[in-house]
């Protein structure tokens, strides 16, 4: 089993309210925000790792490869996923500004042709552009079956199919995909028993959330390979299909008042806001 995970370096989403817009609206400025692995991509790494291990021990022969597109500094973020347990990294360098979801998906398709994974796992969206399209475009480009917004993944014992629970409006849709396939993951995928592979004992429960890298793994990750090449080396058309002409800050919402108790709140809802 070989799994390819794609990973994006994003500005710290917990401080996204500190992004600024350059004078004239030319670009979004994220100076001072720590670059982090896009949280959903970290979930994708966790999902991949759970599929290739028996609770804690790696299944012999299975591998997880992490690919990223962006500046050279993204190697640091790939290294973080290697410390979680991924085996190797691929970094295709370019400016973040010359990328969009469509180009990343078409570039990933080239990586898939070369790497021949059984599964590609991605986060459902990056928390900077919020576009939510790479998995869909990748699947369509490859002609592979796919399931977006996964909250559960069950790999069959013969490793020929995956059954995926998709978070959709109003409930959960279950699809069974014939491998090779593309999956994008949603929030609940890192629940204790959300990912199963018919190898890990049924009684085994993971901690909720993506795993922390212990110190020995962080040290080990330093020796794991990250192959770096320019994006252009993939032979993909680097033209973009959309053009951003400017950026604005949203209108700020004025803080209101503090009410003194429930009776005061109800009165104001009734008279000031006419909401009751």
């Amino acid at each position: 089993m070989k799994i390819l995970v794609s990973l994006k370096r994003t500005a710290d989403p917990d401080n996204a309210n500190k992004v600024k817009v350059a004078p004239g609206g030319a670009k979004i400025v994220t100076d001072g925000l720590e670059p982090k692995v896009n949280p959903f991509d970290e979930y994708a790494v966790e999902t991949a790792l759970r599929l290739v291990e028996n609770g804690k021990t790696r299944i012999a022969g299975d591998t997880v490869v992490v690919a990223s597109f962006g500046p050279k500094e993204a190697a640091t973020n790939i290294r973080q996923s290697l410390a979680m347990g991924a085996d190797s990294g691929l970094l295709f360098t370019t400016d973040d500004d010359s990328l969009d979801g469509d180009l990343v998906a078409r570039a990933l398709a080239k990586v898939v042709e070369a790497q021949k994974p059984d599964l590609v796992i991605l986060g459902k969206q990056a928390v900077d552009g919020d576009s939510n399209q790479v998995a869909q475009v990748l699947a369509e480009t490859l002609g592979w079956p796919s399931a977006t917004f996964a909250m559960s993944v069950n790999l069959s014992a013969d490793k020929k199919t995956v059954t995926v629970g998709r978070e959709v409006d109003g409930g959960v849709v279950k699809l069974t995909l014939t491998l090779p396939a593309v999956i994008s993951v949603d929030l609940r995928i890192v629940g204790a028993k959300a990912v199963t592979n018919n190898v890990t004992p049924a009684a085994f429960a993971y901690n909720d959330g993506p795993r922390f890298a212990p110190l020995p793994m962080i040290i080990k990750a330093k020796t794991k390979p990250i192959a770096e090449a320019p994006l252009a080396s993939l032979g993909v058309d680097t033209g973009l299909k959309v053009r951003y002409t400017g950026f604005e800050l949203p209108a700020a919402r004025k803080a209101g008042i503090k009410v003194k108790d429930v009776a005061d709140l109800v009165e104001r809802l009734r008279t000031d806001a006419k909401a009751l």
């Binding site: 979801g101 699947a139 995909l177 014939t178 950026f247 604005e248 809802l269």
Partner: protein, 324 residues
């Protein structure tokens, strides 16, 4: 003049209200439009769709479309768009539209304007605005390919009202969908609720991690939800903690809502939560931490222990509503 194709969302044979936001996009951009409806036995939904001023309603009624699967729908949507010479394909950014729109774009070689909050038709050039960075920046963008695929944010495009008349109906054939053979639809486990839909409710009452358990969501929050006749929402922290299903999540990575009244109970107001509700008309926050960021966007903030305040508020709201 751009020819626009609106993709209808149909579930269980019924037209979903999400569709009406995509129709309103076409109206906002002053674009003539047709509607494509795919499903199985969808006569009633098609009848509904005829009342919105579309040039025609194109209907693909086929077993292939009995349940939504991206691989089954994409070839037909793309072929209809291509054969009809449509230059704009639009769908509402529900989980259906978010899944479908990039697939259709990939097949058409088109660029996508995802989850847009505004459109302006500048002498025929469509200029979009879309929230990015959890709504902390707004991007102004254009699609540069001959065909444009657009998904619209439901909370920013109000549902179109019927305009009278009856659009012509014509049938379209299902295109071959070879990739669908490797995707088997297993089930749809629907969360049944008597409450209004989260994205359509006039009032939303949402709970956070401070509720401490799924039992408290039931025992403490739900009575307030029902006293308001509201939809129930939750913060990502509450979903992460397993108190409620993700379906209820309000925020950057969940649902974006803009009701008349939003009541945040025990929600601190993390950036990604604010992204999903800060355009609500009136915001009420109840939290025992006076420094919680939620108070910075709340019109009315009550610093209190929710376990005391919520039952009190529930009774008061019941009385107020009973008085009319």
């Amino acid at each position: 003049m751009s020819k626009t194709l609106v993709i209808a969302e149909i579930s269980g044979g019924r037209l979903k209200k999400t569709t009406l936001s995509a129709i309103n996009f076409a109206r906002a951009a002053a674009l003539p439009f047709d509607i494509l409806a795919l499903g199985k036995s969808i006569g009633a939904a098609v009848e509904d769709l005829r009342a919105y001023g579309a040039g025609s309603v194109l209907v693909g009624d086929d077993a292939l479309f009995a349940n939504y699967v991206g691989e089954a729908f994409t070839p037909t949507v793309a072929d209809v768009a291509k054969k009809g010479g449509y230059t704009v394909v639009v769908v509402t950014a529900s989980s259906f539209g978010k899944d479908l729109s990039p697939r259709v774009a990939a097949r058409l070689g088109a660029g996508v304007a995802p989850d847009i909050s505004r459109v302006e038709n500048q002498n025929g050039a469509l200029v979009y605005k879309r929230p990015m960075y959890a709504g902390n920046a707004i991007g102004v963008m254009q699609v540069t390919t001959p065909v444009q695929v657009v998904s619209v944010r439901q909370s920013e495009f109000s549902p179109a009202a019927p305009s009278g008349g009856a659009s012509a109906v014509s049938a379209v054939a299902a295109s071959p969908a070879p990739n669908a053979a490797r995707v088997q639809f297993v089930s749809f486990e629907e969360v049944k609720s008597e409450r209004p839909e989260l994205t359509e409710a006039r009032t939303v009452v949402a709970g956070g991690r401070s509720l401490k358990s799924s039992e408290n969501f039931k025992g403490v929050l739900e009575p307030l939800v029902d006293a308001f006749g509201a939809a129930m929402g939750a913060s990502r922290a509450a979903v992460d903690a397993g108190y409620v299903p993700n379906d209820l999540q309000v925020g950057q990575t969940g649902k974006v809502v803009a009701p008349q009244l939003y009541v945040a109970v025990g929600i601190s107001g993390a950036i990604q939560h604010l992204a999903g509700m800060k355009n609500s008309k009136v915001i009420v926050a109840i939290n025992k931490d006076a420094e919680a960021p939620i108070f910075q966007v709340a019109d009315f903030g009550l610093v209190a222990d929710l376990f005391k305040a919520v039952p009190e508020l529930t009774d008061a709201v019941k009385r107020a509503r009973a008085d009319g």
